[in-house]
């Protein structure tokens, strides 16, 4: 298990859910996709999810699948209602200015260090 806090500086991420502590969230892997049914069909609980989809349904998908944090790539910033719902569900939301490929590469490296 890797602490989410370790990842934050590496992908230059901003935490949009200040009510949730990335120091307390751990993850075991990651899934990368912008198709919600693909995520529900193939992601595992305990993973983080990298996407550029930013509407409210991403929170429901993460919650149903057991995903601990959503990382928005390419500087995508979620709306206030998405942040509110995620905080309620205990799902951390991060934004990284990097592209999906680079974010994924850094996560891969962090997991395999």
């Amino acid at each position: 298990m890797t602490k989410l806090q370790t990842l934050i500086p590496l992908i230059q991420a901003t935490n949009h859910t200040p009510g949730l502590d990335p120091g307390k969230v751990e993850f075991s892997g990651a899934y990368v996709s912008d198709l919600l049914s693909d995520v529900m069909g193939s992601a595992s609980s305990g993973q983080v999810w990298v996407t550029i989809m930013r509407h409210l349904n991403v929170v429901a998908v993460a919650s149903m699948t057991g995903i601990t944090a959503i990382i928005f790539a390419k500087g995508v910033v979620p709306d206030a209602d998405v942040i509110e719902k995620a905080t309620e569900e205990g799902i951390l939301l991060l934004s990284s200015p990097m592209e999906t490929f680079n974010v994924s590469g850094i996560i891969y490296q962090t997991l395999n260090d």
Binding site: D34, L35, L36, S37, D38, M40, G41, M53, S63, M64
Partner: protein, 165 residues
């Protein structure tokens, strides 16, 4: 009238037993799922998931139930004129039923093929419509039953056992 069944072979007896003589449910819940409302769709699944979590259902079973249920709710919102989700919880299993107001599935076998979709642009904009909903429901269910015909309502029901007998 088209009908589709998929039952895990090792659970066939328990599934048949359940459908032929269903016992009284411990908990029964009902939720409206309106057409093209992707924010309301998912409320039922979320509530059921929270309840089962409190009842002590393990996290992997919880994930399977939540995913199958949410996909089915999204299907009602995306493809039907709206419908009702009913949830019956028993000692050893959950029975979920989704009954919509049409317009029905013309060819259920085709609808089960991963990647086949009739979703419109709006549905796709929301990140759905990849043709993976029904396959995901089947993958996570112990028993799946679909009954439909063009021009009529669709009934989709599924069983998931809390711990495989």
């Amino acid at each position: 009238m088209g009908e589709y069944w998929n039952i895990k072979p090792e659970l066939e007896d328990s599934v048949k037993q359940h459908f032929s003589a269903p016992p009284e449910a411990e908990v029964e819940l009902e939720f409206e799922v309106p057409e093209k409302d992707f924010n309301t769709a998912g409320r039922g699944s979320s509530e059921v998931k929270d309840l089962l979590k409190r009842l002590g259902v393990d996290s992997e079973t919880l994930r399977r139930i939540a995913v199958a249920s949410y996909e089915a709710e999204i299907n009602l919102a995306a493809h039907s004129k709206g419908g009702v989700m009913s949830c019956m919880i028993y000692d050893d299993l959950i029975h979920l039923r989704f009954l919509d107001k049409g317009p029905g599935i013309e060819d259920i076998t085709q609808a089960m093929i991963p990647g086949y979709s009739t979703a419109d642009e709006l549905v796709r904009e929301f990140g759905f419509g990849a043709g993976l909903g029904l396959p995901n429901i089947q993958k996570n269910s112990d028993a799946l039953h679909i009954q439909s015909a063009k021009g009529s309502s669709t009934l989709l029901e599924l069983l998931i056992f809390f711990s495989a007998p």
